[in-house]
């Protein structure tokens, strides 16, 4: 676990009802990472955050539950490379959708 992820990210993800934007905040504490996502009208915690260094960057996964604009349980799997993140999120059985983010 490194400190590459820590900081604030502007993230865009696609959902069945359109793209949504959120600001994700990750912090590295003694026990690992913690984080929050702030979207339209709500801030929700990020759960089960893992970060592993691989050849092409840091592979980061987490889950979150949003209620706005709709109730969705999302699972994220992204690659962090410097100030950019790219990957996908998945909600239940729905096809995975693209996630992009940049450090702000």
């Amino acid at each position: 676990m490194t400190n590459v992820l820590a900081g604030t990210w502007a993230v865009t993800m696609r959902t069945p009802i359109g793209s949504i934007e959120a600001e994700m905040h990750f912090a590295l504490n003694e026990g690992g990472f913690s984080g929050t996502a702030t979207g339209k009208g709500e801030t929700v915690p990020l759960h089960d955050i893992t970060a592993v260094m691989i050849d092409t960057g840091e592979r980061v996964t987490w889950t979150q539950t949003i209620t706005k604009p709709m109730r969705l349980h999302l699972t994220f799997d992204v690659l962090v490379d410097g100030d950019r993140m790219e990957g996908h999120s998945r909600a239940g059985r729905l096809p995975r959708s693209t996630v992009t983010g940049r450090r702000i």
Partner: protein, 217 residues
Amino acid sequence: MLAQIVLFDGFDPLDVIAPYEVLCAGSDVIGGELEVRLVGIDAAGPVTSGTRGLRLQAEEVLRPEEPGVVIVPGASGPIEGDPDEVATIPVLLARIAGTSLPGLIERAFAAPDVLVATVCGGSLALAMAGLIEGRTAVTHRLGNDVLHAAGVHVVEARVVDDGDLVTSGGVTSGLDLALHLLDRQYGPRIAHAIERLFEYERRGTVWHASGRAPIAA
């Protein structure tokens, strides 16, 4: 007892009319004690469906505590398309979360003698608004994955009876839903009489969590 069918902008006409006619016919054969009304969310008056601008008239505003059943239809509109560009059916259903309907449905669930029933995407609208998380339900087959993603246990049956929540599948399943509601409330002879009148027999088994559960194959 009162059956209220909710109209909202973009509703699917058949989702409304199928249960309306079945319940009205059922009412006729029990002497009229079941009242059936089309209701608006905030106001009475004309409401435009999602099919070629067809309009239906809301006779009054939804009264969520009135004993009986509140039926939420789905929306009609484009199925394909980028949801950022096109108001697809999921986008239309998500908009309902921004109306006063979720609050009214919450009151209906809290009321002692009120059932909430849905046709087609109606259950998806309730799920998107966070009202039926952890419940068992169904929607149109094209929407079942989204329903699951919203935290609902999806059972692929034409009608799913989860106590005070009775949901049904796509469009025409509103016939089966209303026949089940007649059966549940007034018994099989009433439902059967309407099946005969409409020349329509229900399909499949109404799912509910009673009896034995099947062993996973």
